[in-house]
């Protein structure tokens, strides 16, 4: 099928986009994940804002993962002020994040990538033949959103998180009322791993540099060190300098590379490969029973990593609700001072880095935000190059779908990094 692949509008990703694989004389000449982000300049208009405005504003970068933005913001600003939050504040943040992971991962597994593996164009068409699968998925997703609503007031752009902690403790009884549904969700998530492992994933094996947050006491989501499979632990302050972003003309998103100029991978595959030893009991069991061999190096199988992680966050949410005691001040008193601070957390799609400079009045002088999809963009293009020989052997429609599927497997949040992957029609002249 020596023909150029056209995907005029990439479907089932957050944001709209396109993909360009230029084929000439039977070989692939050019590949671009071509993202046109109408730039929204968050780092620009954060300057001069008071630090407590930051989590409300950065949440608006992404409607699917606002909690990730709020958590990276507040942690970076706390680092700038040298504020330590209490274990109770941290526990609730951890639970809050579990809610977002459930909502986002279930959406991706069943509604975004899942249809590629079950031969459907959408979860809506899947619902016509397997209504129970889709109904269960929606019910699981709803549980994640309910956690967000109880803690944060609403699931999209919640309002309770602040620098130092929380505006108010949510009611313990309201969280405990979610336990029966969470127990159901945990069982259903375990079953989903069994279902997912037998799906017909395309073959691809890639030698990645994995990058993820890392802790020795739990599967890191909210905090920890930054760990690279090639370079070991990287100080969060150094991360921004070492893993620079390049700005490429065909895209309004910034691309990230490591020191040697090579792309690296963030997200579920990176996390599972680096941190599987720290999974909770049920997630570790689900991983073992699934027979999945690590390291997982097939990007299409990110879905399996997400499925394992879904078990992890259901299980963790149940534990955390059991330990939640809303006592004492819900937020630390802040003492303003000039300084700078950086922090990273694990957004559902991967490592999300924030860095802020503050002045003596608590106003932002400078902000830097590196979303996971921006870090993965260069990696997506590199993966497509590796996939190219396989694509050339496929009928055109199948090749197009296989290439699109690869991008969807990344769960790209184009609103975060950018938002328009627009296909440019290949011109044979150049």
């Amino acid at each position: 099928m020596p023909e150029t692949i056209h995907v005029p509008a990439l479907a089932r990703v957050e944001g709209e986009g396109a993909l360009y694989i230029g084929v000439k004389d039977g070989s692939v000449k050019e590949i671009r994940v071509d993202i046109y982000e109408p730039p929204r300049f968050f780092e620009g208009f954060l300057r001069g804002r008071f630090l407590q405005d930051v989590p409300d504003i950065t949440a608006r970068i992404c409607g699917i993962c606002p909690v990730a933005y709020q958590m990276s913001s507040v942690r970076a600003l706390e680092a700038a002020l040298n504020v330590q939050v209490t274990p109770r504040v941290r526990l609730l943040r951890n639970l809050f994040y579990c809610g977002e992971w459930i909502e986002s991962h279930v959406l991706h597994i069943f509604m975004l990538q899942g249809p590629d593996l079950t031969g459907h164009e959408s979860a809506l068409s899947l619902a016509q033949v397997a209504p129970d699968v889709v109904k269960d998925a929606l019910r699981m997703k709803k549980i994640g959103n309910q956690i967000l609503r109880v803690i944060g007031g609403r699931s999209v752009h919640p309002v309770n998180a602040c620098v130092g902690g929380w505006y108010r403790w949510p009611e313990a009884a309201e969280l405990r009322a979610l336990l029966p549904e969470l127990e159901w969700g945990l069982e259903r998530a375990c079953a989903a791993v069994g279902w997912a492992k037998d799906l017909p994933f395309p073959q691809l094996d890639i030698d990645y540099e994995f990058m993820a947050m890392h802790r020795k006491d739990e599967y890191a989501i909210l905090d920890g060190d930054i760990l690279s499979s090639l370079n070991g632990v990287i100080d969060v302050e150094d991360f921004g300098q070492q893993y620079l972003e390049k700005h490429m003309r065909h895209s309004n998103a910034l691309h990230s590379y490591n020191l040697e100029g090579k792309p690296y991978l963030v997200g579920p595959l990176a996390r599972l490969n680096l941190n599987h030893e720290y999974l909770g009991e049920r997630a570790a069991l689900a991983l073992k029973q699934s027979g999945i061999r690590l390291p997982l190096r097939n990007p299409y199988k990110s879905l399996l990593a997400r499925a394992i992680e879904t078990v992890e966050v259901f299980e963790r949410a149940i534990h955390l609700i059991g330990r939640y005691v809303p006592k004492g001040p819900s937020a630390e008193q802040l003492v303003l001072r000039p300084g700078h601070g950086a922090a990273a957390t694990e957004a559902p799609r991967g490592l999300l880095y924030h860095r802020y400079n503050l002045d003596a009045d608590g106003l932002v002088e400078q902000a830097k935000i590196v979303p996971p999809t921006a870090q993965n963009l260069a990696r997506m293009e590199a993966d497509l190059w590796q996939l190219a020989p396989q694509l050339l052997a496929l009928p055109h429609d199948e090749a197009t779908l296989t290439a699109e599927h690869l991008l969807r497997a990344y769960d790209p949040c184009i609103s975060c990094a950018t938002h328009f992957v627009k296909l440019k029609v290949y011109d044979a002249e150049g």
Partner: protein, 263 residues
């Protein structure tokens, strides 16, 4: 021809959160998909049915020349145009650029800003084409969105609140954060619809549902200023999510004018 009305969902400059609210209708989604023909909704499905469409749902604001052109085609394709969310109805958080130099922003964010193609302002969809109904919120309330879709199906007027966030606080029995604690709050001039969540969580409303249609900036500004905990807090609150909505913009300008007069 399909007996079900064809619905298209479009995205402009935005975060995806408002169209996500459609997928967040977990209990209603499958039934909804049976009542309407979701003909174009890239976030949810790969299959695309060509227009014209009975209803076009637009999320996001216009921030690039391409978007300004694209909305014209969409208007022609859709019999009824519904804009959802504060980006689509007032330019959204990215309209903060309207009060600054966008070139300077670009230099602050991107190493090679000459590659970027952007407009100096972020504007509502209604600044470009005729809009049949605007649904406010950052994000929109998913039940209000469902109410609008049901009303269109039943050919009736949607029941949307025309009162302020204050009334929602009273319904929730939330003690007024402005009166009792002196916290600056935009509730009195902000459209209801969120359920007054910010005061319920012990903080002031930051106006993400946009101004009440009858908002009176002249009456409100003295109240807001009396609660300011540090200079400039009122303007910043007004310029958070819905800063380019006319009533909020006017209130912020009033405060700025008063400050220059006293300086």
């Amino acid at each position: 021809m399909s007996p079900k009305p064809k619905v298209a969902v479009y995205k402009f400059s935005s975060c995806d959160g408002c169209q996500l609210q459609l997928l967040n209708l977990e209990d209603e989604l499958i039934e909804l998909a049976g009542a309407i023909d979701i003909a174009f909704f890239l976030e949810a499905r790969r299959q695309v049915e060509p227009g014209p469409y009975a209803v076009g749902i637009v999320e996001g604001s216009v921030t690039t020349p391409e978007e300004a052109e694209r909305i014209q085609y969409i208007r022609r394709d859709c019999k009824f145009l519904l804009t959802i969310g504060t980006c689509a109805t007032a330019g959204g958080v990215q309209a903060l650029r309207n009060f600054a130099d966008v070139q300077e922003y670009a230099r602050a964010v991107y190493p090679h800003p000459e590659y970027l193609n952007t407009l100096a302002t972020s504007t509502a969809i209604s600044a470009h084409v005729k809009v049949d109904l605007e649904l406010w919120g950052c994000p929109v309330n998913k039940y209000q969105l469902l109410e609008v879709i049901c009303a269109l199906l039943q050919q009736r007027r949607p029941a949307l609140p025309q009162y302020s966030v204050c009334l929602e606080c009273k319904r929730r029995s939330t003690t007024c954060v402005a009166v009792a604690q002196g916290i600056p709050c935009l509730g009195p001039i902000t459209r209801a619809g969120c359920g007054a969540i910010c005061p319920a969580y012990g903080r002031g409303c930051y106006g993400c549902f946009g101004p009440l249609p009858t908002a009176d900036p002249f009456a409100f500004v003295p109240v807001l200023r009396s609660h300011e905990r540090f200079p400039g807090e009122g303007i910043r609150l007004l310029r958070t999510i819905s800063g380019a909505a006319p009533a909020f913009e006017k209130a912020a300008k009033l405060i700025a004018f008063e400050e220059t007069r006293h300086a």
